[in-house]
Every structure is written in C-alpha cells, then in structure tokens.
C-alpha cells in the first residue's frame, strides 16, 4: 500500500503542493492560484487536483502538513477577535506605551500601531507578585467575579489575554483568573501569558499573549474547519500545522497557540532549504528567497536553521522562538526611481502582483527589477512552464525614462537597477551572518523563490561566497519543507542563577521538570515509534548584563541532563566569543532561561523519480548582459534536460517551471546525484 505525505503551503498568490510517496520516494508537485477570501478553498481544490493529476489514492495520504498565512494576514490587516486584556493594577497602559520609542525618529507623522485591545477593554485587577514569585498583594475572588461581569458586559469580546506582572515566575494568579473566565464564559477564548511565553520582560510577554488572543477565535476556527474538510478528501491523513520555530504541531495546539504560526510560510522554506542542502551533503547554507515584493534570507548552520527570539510583525511585537528570517523590501516587482538626492533607488515600493512588472503586460508601467532582468536577457522571453508571457518592449518602455534621466544607456540603467537590488539583498545577508558573527564565505548560498536564481551569482560574488546550490524545485521549496518537517515543541523554564557548582542541583531539577513535560507531550502527540530527540539550551549572560545569548549545552535522545558548571561556563564563553569576537574569561556568568526543544522524527524519504533527462536538447542562444562590457551569446537550457552528472560551463540561462537560474561566464554548474545544481564561482 502506498503512503503519501502532502505538504501544502498557502502564499498570497499561489497555493503550492508537494507530495512524496514514502516507499518509492516518488515526488510530485502542484501549484494553483490562492483564494485569499477563504484560503481553505484553494487547499481543498488543490488537494483534489493533485490527487487526480498524479493518480494518488486520497486514502493513501498518511500525513497532511500545512503552512499557513492566516495568522500573518489577520495581523497585517488587523482582522481578528474583539479582545480584552486583564492585567495587574497600575499597568493597563503598559502595552500602549510599549518600549516608549517611536518607529522612525525623524518622521513626525508615523506612530506605532494602537494596541489590539483598546484602553477601555484593558482591565486591571488588584494583585501583585514580586520578583521572587512571592505574593505581595493577594488576589480576591470577589475581584475576579467583578472582572467577569465587566467582560460579560462587552458582547464584542470573544477572546481575553491574561497578563500579570511576574506571572512567568508564579503563574497562580493568572491561572485562577483564566479558570474562572473559562468557567463563567465558556464561549470566550482565554490566552495566558505564563502559558504562551513564560519569560521575563513584561511588554514582550504581554504583547505576544495579546496577539495570541487576537488570533485565537479566527485561527482555531479556520484550522478545525480545514482539518474536517481535508478529512473528507483524505480520511487517513494526520494533520500537522507548521509553526514559525520550524516544526509541526497538532491542529489542537495550533488553535491554542496561533501566534506560533505567524511566520509559518517563510519558516517552511528554511526547513526545505536545510533538507535540500542535506541531500547534497551541504550543511552550512544561507538562503535567498526572492519573491515579488521582498526577499527573505536565513542562515542554516550544520543543517539547523538559526533561531530568533523577537520579531515585529506589522508593528506588533512577538517574542517566541522563530526561525531567524530577515526580510528586505527588494524583489522582482521592486520599483526603480530617482530619489530626492538624484541617485537611483530600488524599492521598497513594489508593483506587486497587480499591476506587476511592466514586462508581464498586466498594466504595470513603472520600471521594476524584473523589467531590468528582461532587458539584460537574463529573464528569457519564453519561460519553460509557459504560464506567463513576457513582453520585452514593455520592459524597455518602462526603463527608458530612468536611463534618460540618468543619461546612461538602457542596458546600463538595467544593470544599475539589478545592481542596487543585489546590494540590498547582500545587506540582508550581512545582517544574518556577519552581524551575528558568521563569515558568509564559509557558507553556500541557496537561492529559491521565482527570482532567487536570477540574482544568486551576483549576490554571492559581492559577499565573497564561492558556491551556490540551486535546489531541484526552487519554486515550491516551502511546500517541500513541509513534508520534511518533524513534530516539534519548545519548552521554557525561568531559572535565574549564577553559574556555580552549587547552583547545578537546582538547574538539574528545572531541567528534569522540562524533560517530564516534554515526555508527556511526546506521549500525547508523537504517534508510534518516532525517533525522539531533545535539545537543551540556556539563555545566559554575564552577571549585570541585560541581554542574553542562547547557548546550546546538550542534546540527545530519551533522558537529558544539565551538565556541570564548568561545562556551562565554557559553552557560554565560546558562544560569546563567536558572537562578539571577545569575551571576559573571568566574568561572572548567569543563566536566565532554560529551554528544551523536543522533536519527534516523522517518517521521511528522499526524493526520487524527478526529471530523468536523456540528452541535452537543442540549444537556443540569446545575447545576455552580465556586465557593462556588452552582451555575451548565452545558451538557454531547460533544467529538465540536465541529468545528474551534467557539467556545464557558463554562461548559461537555465529555466524550469517557475524559476530561472543565471550562470555567469566565469562560473561552472554541475548537477549532483540529488539533482541539485551546484554552481562554483571563479575567484574574484
């Protein structure tokens, strides 16, 4: 009997599917337009189409992994629940003040967004916990009752965030309030800060919890509905939701913690990239995912995606472990224009999908990065998959005014547009690598998304990177990442203590507590005999500092214990030195949080049965501009015609379904056993 795993990534424009049969490794893909008014329609129809097109028995789908932008869009559009906040007396404005900084220092007209819960729905309650978890002012039942009546009087409130000072140390008051609300108002969703993000720094914790509450009614409803609908097509499918931290969780958990899906889509791309790299034996990768309006980059070290702890989405702060993806406003649709200083600027304004770049003939008239690529011959007039047709004349008409304004030739202007876009993308890579203490020259660049391959060689050169890996299906890497994802859950405990041998028993006890919780979770969520691993890390800092480093200290299967003080210290010093280039070997070191990541490895299989090309087909040659010296006659090749073992000197343009790879004259491409293309760049 066949056993299929289906990954489904919902993006703004397309809903992508990638399906793999476990025993044979047979992998198929499908792409269809998204249905933003109700994303589940594209998911359901696409799933049926996928099964029909590729002759998949829906009953043989054992797992359905879903990447979703429902939460992200709800935040971007501020379309979520009517939400109330309950907080400690004296602090109802804390969320509105935030960190009291304004987003742009010199812009008098721009403010941080107003809180998701308006002031009259931010309720204070008399209670106070102190910094050691001690109760400074007790919580009274009569106050809870009054609070419930106040919430009941607000019919628009469908979700409540309970956020008390120091609840991450002592959650008792938060729990009492939450239980009482749940009992009295069963239709209201309740999010509790000590559950959602039990860490120190109240603004970040409150904000994350409030966002969770805001998303809960909508997202949990969507997830439950979608699961039921998918079951009608694929009754045997285990349903997994992809979370921003890079693993799957159950629908029930996603409904409880929807804020964890805020970066679901891009994070799946990073996991797909890690998987593709691994299939070619490449563990250190920097991704370059270039879409229409923006570029996402992520650093992967030793096959593991880097994690960030804080991110603002649409001006709202989220503090949770998330795949560390850095985004810049430079993509194929980014618009070129002359700025107030007479210099050429590219982005952040974008032509988007509509009207889109001029060359697509959908009404766009402004010059974009895609138009420049068309003029340079890098984006071929006929794309392999058909679909979009490109009109070079429209691109020329759009770019010409810019060229005239600058007094340069059309091709020079186009090279300029691409060059500036590349510089913006390179800057994004510097942020995730050099600024974090990693040397990009030791990494391989992995372009994906529609336009990644167009820019990868230039971007790599500007950073001194020598090697590029273009995955087999760059256009659907997010969906592919979904089928490679494992079940994953992060646990955190607060453990502020100076690192000495005397502190170790306490840390061990905390660690054992987390391990117990992880084992409970594995027993509940991980089905069958999945391989289980745990990774232990500490947030540590020098005593007196107010900024922590995540320091991995141990990993293994089954039981895991906290190492001794000397090992902890050494691990911290090494990480500090790597991050900042120096460390004080004698400084007092402190732990702040203890983190445990548990993963249950799901059945996986390597891709097989992808293009079994025979011979290199007839070559078509076109003039392509690689630099100012003029065009070079360059062959256009279909990737499907490049079998494993192919070695191809540049220049070349390689096209496939929905993406194009530019191979400059001084580079060489070979196709490896996993059918990934490895491009080696000459020394510069």
């Amino acid at each position: 009997m066949e056993n299929w795993i289906v990954g489904c990534d919902v993006g703004g424009t397309f809903t992508d599917f990638c399906a793999r049969e476990m025993a044979s490794g047979r992998t198929v893909i499908h792409k269809r337009p998204s249905t933003p008014d109700d994303p589940s329609r594209a998911v359901l129809n696409g799933l049926k189409e996928l099964a029909q097109l590729h002759d998949i028995d829906p009953a043989a789908i054992g797992r359905f992994a879903h990447g979703t932008t429902v939460a992200t869009n709800a935040l971007l559009q501020r379309k979520g629940a009517g939400v109330a906040l309950v907080t400690t007396r004296g602090f109802r404005d804390l969320l509105e003040i935030g960190r009291q900084a304004r987003p742009l220092i010199y812009d008098l007209q721009v403010d941080a967004p107003a809180p998701l819960a308006p002031r009259h729905l931010r309720f204070e309650i008399d209670e106070r916990i102190g910094p050691r978890g001690e109760v400074l002012r007790p919580l009274h039942d009569a106050d809870i009752d009054a609070l419930i009546e106040a919430i009941r009087a607000q019919p628009d409130v469908t979700a409540v965030a309970v956020c008390l000072i120091f609840a991450f140390i002592n959650p008792d008051h938060e729990r009492r309030i939450a239980e009482a609300i749940r009992a009295a108002l069963p239709q209201v969703f309740v999010s509790v800060s000590s559950d959602v993000q039990p860490e120190f720094r109240e603004f970040e914790r409150f904000s994350t919890t409030l966002i969770n509450a805001f998303l809960q009614p909508e997202v949990s409803g969507y997830m439950a509905r979608l699961e039921a609908e998918v079951k009608t097509v694929a009754p045997e499918a285990e349903f997994g939701i992809f979370q921003s931290s890079g693993g799957l969780m159950s629908v029930q958990r996603a409904g409880q913690f929807p804020v964890r899906t805020a970066l679901s889509g891009p994070a799946a791309g990073a996991v797909g990239a890690a998987g593709s790299g691994a299939s070619s034996g490449i563990g250190d990768v920097i991704t370059l995912d270039i879409g229409g309006t923006s570029t996402d980059v992520c650093l992967i070290r030793d096959g593991k995606t880097a994690l960030a702890s804080t991110r603002d989405i649409s001006g709202f702060r989220i503090r949770l472990p998330m795949v560390d993806i850095h985004t810049v406003g430079a993509g194929g649709g980014s618009i070129a224009q002359i700025g107030g200083d007479g210099l050429m600027k590219v982005g952040p304004e974008s032509a988007g999908a509509v009207p889109g770049p001029a060359c697509y003939g959908k009404g766009g008239t402004l010059p974009t990065v895609s138009d420049a690529n068309v003029i340079l011959g890098r984006l071929p007039i006929q794309l392999a998959g058909g679909g979009l047709t490109i009109d070079r004349d429209l691109a020329v008409r759009a770019v010409e005014p810019v060229a005239q304004q600058l007094g340069v030739s059309l091709e020079e202007a186009a090279l300029g547009i691409v060059g500036i876009a590349n510089a913006n993308m390179s800057r994004a890579i510097r942020v995730v690598s050099i600024e974090k203490g990693y040397d990009p020259r030791l990494f391989t660049l992995m372009p994906f998304g529609g336009a990644g391959g167009l820019h990868a060689a230039d971007v790599a050169k500007s950073l001194g990177m020598k090697r590029i890996i273009v995955p087999l299906t760059p256009g659907i890497l997010c969906a592919e990442g979904l089928i490679m994802a494992d079940l994953q859950e992060d646990f955190v405990a607060n453990c502020r203590s100076i690192v000495t041998e005397a502190a170790i028993p306490q840390l061990r006890a905390e660690c054992a507590g987390l391990v117990d919780r992880a084992l409970d979770w594995l027993a509940q969520e991980a089905v069958g005999d999945a391989a289980q691993t745990m990774h232990l890390s500490f947030d540590m800092r020098y005593f007196g500092q107010n900024y922590e480093l995540a320091v991995p200290v141990a990993s293994g299967t089954g039981t895991i214990t906290c190492p001794d003080a000397a090992t902890l210290r050494e691990a911290f010093l090494a990480e500090y030195r790597r991050s900042y280039g120096h460390c004080d070997p004698d400084g007092t070191v402190e732990t702040v949080n203890l983190r445990l990541r548990a993963t249950a490895r799901l059945t996986q299989s390597a891709a097989k049965g992808a293009p079994q090309a025979t011979s290199v087909a007839e070559r078509q040659f076109v003039p392509v501009w690689f630099d100012r010296t003029g065009p070079a006659q360059t062959p256009i090749l279909a990737r499907a015609h490049l079998p494993a073992g192919t070695v191809l000197p540049g220049p070349a343009i390689i096209t496939q379904l929905d993406s194009t790879t530019v191979v400059p004259p001084d580079a060489t491409v070979r196709v490896d056993g996993a059918l990934n293309m490895i491009m080696e760049l000459a020394d510069v």
Binding site: D93, E96, I97, Q100, A101, I165, G340, Y547, Y580
Partner: protein
C-alpha cells in the same frame, strides 16, 4: 556620469555599503555592551567620517542629539593630532568645551582608517555611559553648577597607539567612574565596534581605492547639502520668529528665554538666537554642537525625514548664537541636562515655522527628557546600585492626527527598562506605569498624554534625583489648540500624603514606605477644541483618556449634542 565623477548608480551602491557599516557597528555595540543603558535603551550612536573629519553617514538608529557630538569631536581631533595619526589608533573624548562633546556621559571614540599611509576616514561611535564620576551618582543630577562637578572631563586623548592600549589612561578613567566593571564592558564594546568598522571600511577600500572613496565621501555630502537646500527652497521667503522659556536651571535661574528668528531667502536659511538669555549656572546649557543637533533634527523632521544625516545638512544652514549665551555656552558652564534644552530649541523651530508648514508641524510635545535616577545600597548584597531612566510623555498633536500618548519625542528615542528587569536588578518596586487622563491638550486633534511612573524602595532608604522640564511653562498648542498639562514630581506617603518636589529634585531621601511619583508633561493640541469630532471625544471618554470634567471645560459641542455616554 555626473559632475562629481561617480555615476548615480555606483554612488547609491557605495553609499548603501557605508550605511551598512554604520549599522553593523551600531548592532555590535548594542549586542556586546554591558550596561542596560545601551542594551535595553539603545542610548548610543555610530558614524563614519572622512579624512577631513566631516560626518558622512550615521547609523539608521543613531540618535539626533549624538550627531553633532561626533562631528564636534572630529574637528578637535584633527586640530590636535593632524599628521600624528596612525593605523590602529583609537581616540577618546567627552568634554563639551574642548573636545566637541555635548555632555560628559557621552564618551566618543574614533578610529582612523588608512590605505597604506593615506588617511581615508574615521569610524566613530558614542555611548551614554551610566556614570562618569562627579558629584552625583549617574553624573546627571540637577543642581550641579559647573562642569567640574558633573564628572571626569576627558579632552581628546589617544587610547590606542598603533593598536596598543594606553593602560595607564584607562586606569585613570576607570578610577574616576563609579561601577568601573560596567564602564570597562561598555568601553570594550566601543573599541570592538571601532575595530569592526575599520575592517569593513578596509573591505570597501579594496573595491574603490582611497581616491575614489574620497570622491564618494564628497559626493555623499554634496548631494545631501543639495537635497537639504532644495527642501529649504520650498519654504516661502521671510523671517519667522518664536520665543519659548525653560522652567529653571535647578541653580536659581528661572524662566530662561530662548529667542529665535529664522530668516529664509532662496536656498539660504539662518537661525539667529540673538536676544537669548546668557548661559546659566545650572547644568542646562547648550554647547554650539548641541544647538546645531537640535536644528538639524527639526529641519529634517519638518521638511524631509529621508535626508541623510551628515555634514551636508550643517553645510546648508547658518546659525548665529552669541558666545556665552544659553545656546552657545562657554567653559566652565555645566551641561549635563542639555537634552531638555535641545527639546526647547526644537520647539522654537517648530513654533517659528508652524505658519508656513501647517500640515507637517506638530504642537509642542512634552518638551523634556524627564530623567529619574534611583541610587542606594542593595540590602540583600550590600552593593551600590544606580538605576537611571528617561521617560517619554505626550507627542504634539498634528494636522490630521492626535499626538501619540506616552512616547519619546524629537531628539531622543531611548527605550524604557522593563518593570520586571527593574525589580529583578534593583531593590525597587514599580507600583504604577500609566498614561495620565486629561494631560493631552484639547484641540481638533488632541495632544498626547503624559506618563505616570510610581516607584518605591524595598526594605531600605534610597536617594531620588529627578530632572523635569515644562513643569511651569506648559507645552503649547497650535492654531487654537490648548496647551498640554505640565509635568510634576511628588512624594506619596503610605497614608496618601503628598509632598511636592521641584522640577529639579536633588538628593531626595526616599524611605521604604514612600513612593516617588513621576508625572511627565502631556503635549499641546492642534486646532480649536470645538472643531473636534464628537466620535473622537466619545472614543477618548470611553477609553478614559479624558474625563467628563475635561469635556465640559474644553469641548462645548459635546454639551450641545450629548451622545449616550458609557
């Protein structure tokens, strides 16, 4: 190709490369510094200067008030050391009177970058250090009346010669500062950022070479100046006047007058402070550089927020500020609280230009850099602690929008310290952190609200030092808008008794059962209150941002057409 020899595409790319260096240095300091003041509050800046000491780029998150300080240091550095600067050197300075600074806690560093033996430029940075010695802990207390009391004065000195640290100098510096371990950590972060920037600029030099890099620097500054002049030209010609008052200097001088006449003609603009009061005893005086910072900020904010921050802006404006006046003080004037006075200069520029840029301007904001410093000995550890906070307040109302409530305004944008961080680090309890109803000035658009923060010591007696402004001269409204509420400090005893404190509260003993209450000013309204939409009044009432009393006093339209109130 344009007349500067660098085409507009290459220049854009090179310029981005330079900005990226400044930003990377900024992040490096934020990540590797020790003090909360830098890590949590981001009270630091980074920049690149050319071989002539002109600022070329500043980090995106750099603070406006640090701008001129870095530029000022470069000028003095070249005057003193030209011809004797070598690779691996790092210079250090903080003095406002002889080293271009604006107040002593801001310690500047600069490292030269060479191609061979040709000096190409400098990597500069600045951190507000939480203490640089002097009479008062935190070096920021009100009431200090000469610069010697404000902390250690560092003239331009060489901290590193050819890559080697002058340990003697470092020991002297650290000995004169409280919390030397933290200082060492922050100074190390500055040194590391200098080295990082040097390496990165070297990488760019490999691409461009020194001669072309010089041309790039010239082009960046020149184009910035042209852009600024173009923005200036958009204003109608004329002379625009405004006057405002500082409350007091904490050393006996009240109602310090700042008089400004802005004359705009073609692409020229002159800021003339003739008639401004003489410098004062207390530590609110502005050095020339500080005044220049405030003017640059105001022009950018009013005319073109995207104009890069560099020497090109300075080159486009002219300032007349009599030496020895409040806005161009001379030694030994005390200057620690200069941020408050910078805010008032900003208000003067906004007030003067309001009639000609009515849609861009904002009414007077909280006009202060309200600071609160708590010091004492932690009863649990026996160690001394210093907790410094600067608080935001109301932002002025705008043409089409209310002023933002509870936020840092104009020349400062530092973050707060989390309540939980305060209570974990210090023996203090934060009882309240809130917006104060009725503090936003009434108007068609309402001014922003001030912040209340209530703090008391736990199990010991501590000392409170507070500095506020606009406690007497309230933030004014525009075009008929009412002024915002003034700020105030007071003590709140457990029995509810209140003891008012002055706006420059110095060395106030705080017993365990007494709270220090800090209330920052609100901000002025914009347009006549009677033109305010009923729906906006209703929303403010519902939110508790205004009370019925305020509605009755200021919004007559409400009484005529009462909506069902909640």
């Amino acid at each position: 190709m344009s007349e500067d020899g660098i085409d507009p595409i290459s220049l854009e790319i090179a310029w981005n490369g330079l900005k990226s260096i400044a930003d990377e240095c900024f992040t490096a300091i934020m990540r590797s510094a020790f003090s909360s003041n830098v890590k949590e509050r981001h009270d630091h800046s980074t920049a690149i200067a050319d071989a002539r000491g002109r600022l070329v780029v500043q980090a995106e998150m750099a603070l406006p008030v640090h701008l001129a300080s870095m530029g000022g240091m470069m000028k003095e550095l070249l005057a003193l050391y030209a011809g004797d600067i070598g690779p691996g050197d790092i210079f250090i300075a903080n003095d406002p009177h002889v080293a271009g600074g604006t107040h002593l806690p801001d310690i500047n560093m600069a490292a030269p970058v060479f191609e061979g033996d040709r000096l190409v430029g400098f990597i500069a940075n600045i951190i507000h250090h939480a203490d640089v010695g002097g009479a008062a802990v935190g070096s920021m207390s009100g009431g200090l009346d000469e610069i010697y009391k404000e902390g250690l004065r560092i003239p331009l000195m060489r901290l590193y010669r050819r890559g080697k640290c002058d340990e003697d100098l470092l020991r002297l510096l650290l000995l004169n500062m409280r919390l030397p371990d933290e200082r060492r950590g922050d100074l190390n972060a500055q040194i590391a950022a200098c080295r990082l920037g040097e390496g990165r600029l070297q990488d760019l030099l490999k691409v461009h070479g020194a001669a072309r890099m010089d041309a790039i620097f010239d082009a960046v500054i020149e184009r910035t100046q042209l852009r600024m002049r173009k923005a200036i030209a958009s204003l109608p010609d004329g002379t625009y006047r405004f006057e405002d008052m500082m409350d007091d200097d904490g050393a006996g001088t009240r109602d310090i007058r700042i008089v400004l006449a802005i004359t705009k003609s073609g692409e020229e603009i002159t800021f003339d402070f003739t008639g401004t009061d003489p410098q004062v005893k207390g530590n609110f005086n502005l050095t020339w550089n500080a005044t220049q910072s405030a003017i640059c900020y105001s022009l950018k904010a009013l005319l073109d927020a995207e104009i890069p921050t560099n020497q090109g802006i300075f080159d486009a404006i002219r300032i007349i500020a009599p030496a020895g006046s409040f806005v161009n003080c001379v030694a030994p004037a005390a200057v620690a609280m200069r941020a408050n006075s910078c805010q008032r200069v900003v208000d003067c520029v906004l007030g003067a230009l309001a009639p000609v840029v009515p849609t861009q301007v904002v009414a007077a904001a909280n006009g202060a850099n309200t600071s609160a410093v708590f010091t004492g000995t932690d009863p649990a550890t026996g160690k001394m602690y210093v907790y410094l906070e600067t608080l935001g307040g109301g932002m002025g109302a705008r043409y089409a929008r209310d002023g933002k409530d509870g936020v840092q305004v104009h020349i400062t944008n530092t973050s707060n310290l989390p309540v939980e961080a305060i209570e974990l680090e210090y023996p203090l309890r934060v009882e309240e952190y809130s917006l104060i109803p009725d503090t936003g000035g009434a108007g068609r658009q309402r001014g922003g609200m001030g912040i209340r923060r209530v703090i008391r010591p736990v199990a010991h007696t501590c000392e409170f030092n507070g500095v506020g402004e606009r406690f007497h001269h309230a933030p004014w409204g525009l075009f008929g808008g009412a002024p915002g509420a003034s700020g105030r400090f007071y003590l709140l005893a457990s029995d509810g008794e209140r003891t008012p404190l002055s706006s420059k509260a110095t060395r106030i003993a705080l017993c365990e059962d007494t709270c220090a209450v800090i209330e920052t000013p609100g901000a002025g309204g914009y347009g006549k209150p009677e033109e305010r939409a009923l729906s906006a009044i209703d929303a403010d009432l519902q939110a508790g941002k205004i009370t019925l009393q305020e509605v009755r006093t200021n919004y007559s339209q409400w009484m005529e057409f009462p909506l069902p109130s909640s």
